[in-house]
Assembly symmetry: C3
Homo-oligomer: 347 residues x 3
Amino acid sequence: MKLGELAKLTFSRIEQGEENLEITGAAGLNIAKDGEITFLANPKYTSQVNETKASAIFVGEKEKIDRKDIAILRTSDPYLAYARALRIFYPEPKHTPSIHPSSVIDKTAKIAPTAQIMANVFIGKNCEIGENVRIFPNVTIYDNVKIGDNTTIHSGVSIREGCQIGSNCIIQNNATIGSDGFGYARDEQKRWLKIPQVGIVVIEDDVEIGANTTIDRASVGETRIKRGVKIDNLVQIGHSCTVDEDSLICAQTGLAGSSYIGKRVTLAGQVGIAGHLKVGDDAIITAKSATSHDVEPGQMVSGIPAFDNKQWLRSVSVFKRLGDMFRKLRELEQKISKLEEFLKSAK
Amino acid sequence: MKLGELAKLTFSRIEQGEENLEITGAAGLNIAKDGEITFLANPKYTSQVNETKASAIFVGEKEKIDRKDIAILRTSDPYLAYARALRIFYPEPKHTPSIHPSSVIDKTAKIAPTAQIMANVFIGKNCEIGENVRIFPNVTIYDNVKIGDNTTIHSGVSIREGCQIGSNCIIQNNATIGSDGFGYARDEQKRWLKIPQVGIVVIEDDVEIGANTTIDRASVGETRIKRGVKIDNLVQIGHSCTVDEDSLICAQTGLAGSSYIGKRVTLAGQVGIAGHLKVGDDAIITAKSATSHDVEPGQMVSGIPAFDNKQWLRSVSVFKRLGDMFRKLRELEQKISKLEEFLKSAK
Amino acid sequence: MKLGELAKLTFSRIEQGEENLEITGAAGLNIAKDGEITFLANPKYTSQVNETKASAIFVGEKEKIDRKDIAILRTSDPYLAYARALRIFYPEPKHTPSIHPSSVIDKTAKIAPTAQIMANVFIGKNCEIGENVRIFPNVTIYDNVKIGDNTTIHSGVSIREGCQIGSNCIIQNNATIGSDGFGYARDEQKRWLKIPQVGIVVIEDDVEIGANTTIDRASVGETRIKRGVKIDNLVQIGHSCTVDEDSLICAQTGLAGSSYIGKRVTLAGQVGIAGHLKVGDDAIITAKSATSHDVEPGQMVSGIPAFDNKQWLRSVSVFKRLGDMFRKLRELEQKISKLEEFLKSAK
């Protein structure tokens, strides 16, 4: 692809370099090869610009680039432009509509003619599989599941009875959608009595779900993952939670039951969210933190339990010196005793 | 079902409402519909009682309900009564004994005639599958596995060689039972030498195991999950652990090797338990905590490393103000220096 | 096996007992039976030596053993000797080269004649499967995957397109190798745009990967797990990470993207590693800790965020008393105020 066309498709502006320069791919600063385009989004990596083998680079509007031998594409968001370039160079592979003979599909299931169902897939009663859906091998789809158009289900995924998956979703390998929620009541003998989990999971459009992630069905009602949510690997979503649009949930985070995560929330890695609480729109919970209380919209919180991130940063910086602080406190205590003694005797 | 019969089956008492009232289902306060029964177990939700569309409600003995248009069922444990109602309205679906032709079952395996073996299941040599067992698609059962009566194995589960599963168990999707324990010895070249993991996992009756949870086999001997234990999703149980009866292990908790978890213990979400230790009966370890020491029976502990929960609550409340505390300490230090100076000069 | 031969094969020295003593197996102190050999590696368990039913024991050079009725084998590393004994008594089972008729193997795939491909396995286009490889049921191997000699892939594993697995590797059940990395750019509407993940995962020789662990493919380039690395269950390795030789990663640990873990590093259970950082050779990060900064070679760090382990131990010991410390600080403040008052009035 010519640099000029690439600039147009990525909404960027050629500042240096030929419109006709042939660009063959896109990659990060340290691995891009001759002929490829790279990007600089984080000033931390500015020094790598001098060493990159890339032939072109996306940079922000103000970044200064000293090299004359690299094409420069200006844009307000170099990372976004790079993402678009990658999507141009590596489009989704075309698939061949087909149903593998080793798959086991209930005769009441409706499979769109453009879908691809691969080897050893099981599809239960009354399922509906949309156009251009790809289902990789060894997937199990229980009864009454609906899957929207253009969705991809990777191998080893289980989708339980009655769950609904939207369009343009991707479910990575070995994820579980619709497993029973973790609900029990203690009986008179202090034994656990299982509470039936007969609700469902609804996954709206444009959602991605990571490998080996688990999303529990509601006991009654639904667990809902709304449009545009992206969920990483090994995440646990408890029963009856709602994750609202465009939120991002990083790996190994866990949500207990019935919590509401707002729009555009970021839950970083290994975060914990207790049950029955609300995280407001645009809130950020930093990695390894946990909250047992509501989080206000737009707030960034940290710690276990989590509180304001700036205050937490001060607390953890003091925490390191807690040993010294304790010693100091004892010294002051002794000094004060001495002063008190002295004044007493002086009276 | 008539309200009168429901009251009898849930060991509750009609305080308000007609015996003949028809109840059609059960659901939480905020989603229950006309004709359904709901419950109030947590005073936090008392205000929702005024808005619920339910026709009946389980409440505790002392809770005051102002509404006249809702049937009231008194009981000492409304949550337990609700659980029983749900179990009445949503009984386990009946299954059809059958063996799907796409399953691959070794000829030495013994399958009870009432079992249901679904598509693409693999069952190895000398396995024994009990009465009414349901095995969903794409399950793999290695050689010499025993599965007790009425147990359900969901799709994607792997049960490794020689493991034993009790009766009335449920294993959720993509769980792994009997994977190799994580055991290595460092050799003279500082490389890791694998220690054979030739023990087994024994899961007793009435156990439930969550989706994508992993339970490692012992190196020699066994890992044992005792009767009535409930384990949530994405939990890791290390080799040679024992989890004693009726304990509850929430999502993403991890147990290192050879630890003993007592009876009726609660390990909340994302807890960590180090190796070779003992958590006493009825202990509670709160979410995100980790212990590297034994925990006494009945103790509630928190933190990393965990200690008494009440003391921890005080510590975390001070932790938030650690920045201020540090500044205060420096101020006091200066004040004392001044006092000392003054007294010196006064002498 | 005779004790004399066992001593030779485990590089240990008979101090007490007959060369001709028949040893039938190996097990831990508390479960070893008559005729078996056990070991004492941790002084904590010395008292169990008096009670063990084992007929022989590996002990360190300096440990004193009072019993006369047990054969004693001296060695500098009793745990390593025990590991070697176990490997002698429990060798890897022999397998029968075979391809199960229910497996679905693309005709362009090359399968070594000594490989064993079990039921319901799927193998895609242009794959290469080495000598003596064992692939258990319900495994999915996407196109263009290479698997080296003597590697074992347990049931339910997914290996995505283009990934490479070395020789002598073991991949435990339901692990996912090569799932898409978690990469998105925020577009002008604050929606997430997926960044294509077209790199691969390379797993070198002698690597073991735990059950339900996930290793993401790079966006461009590769994620690499080097020779001899051992990874436990439910671990998350983000895209473009490198884990260097002989490192050990315990259960439920997570690595965000593009980090480098050095040689012989230990990441204990539930550790978190932020993105784009470096953990030096031989570093140790203790359980439940997380680092957002580089860790120096050989350092042991703890806490969230992690710092020097010894300093951390002091801080957490003070943390328990933080409530008392806060009260003490207020008392001192009042005492100082009184002293200041007194001196003011005395002037």
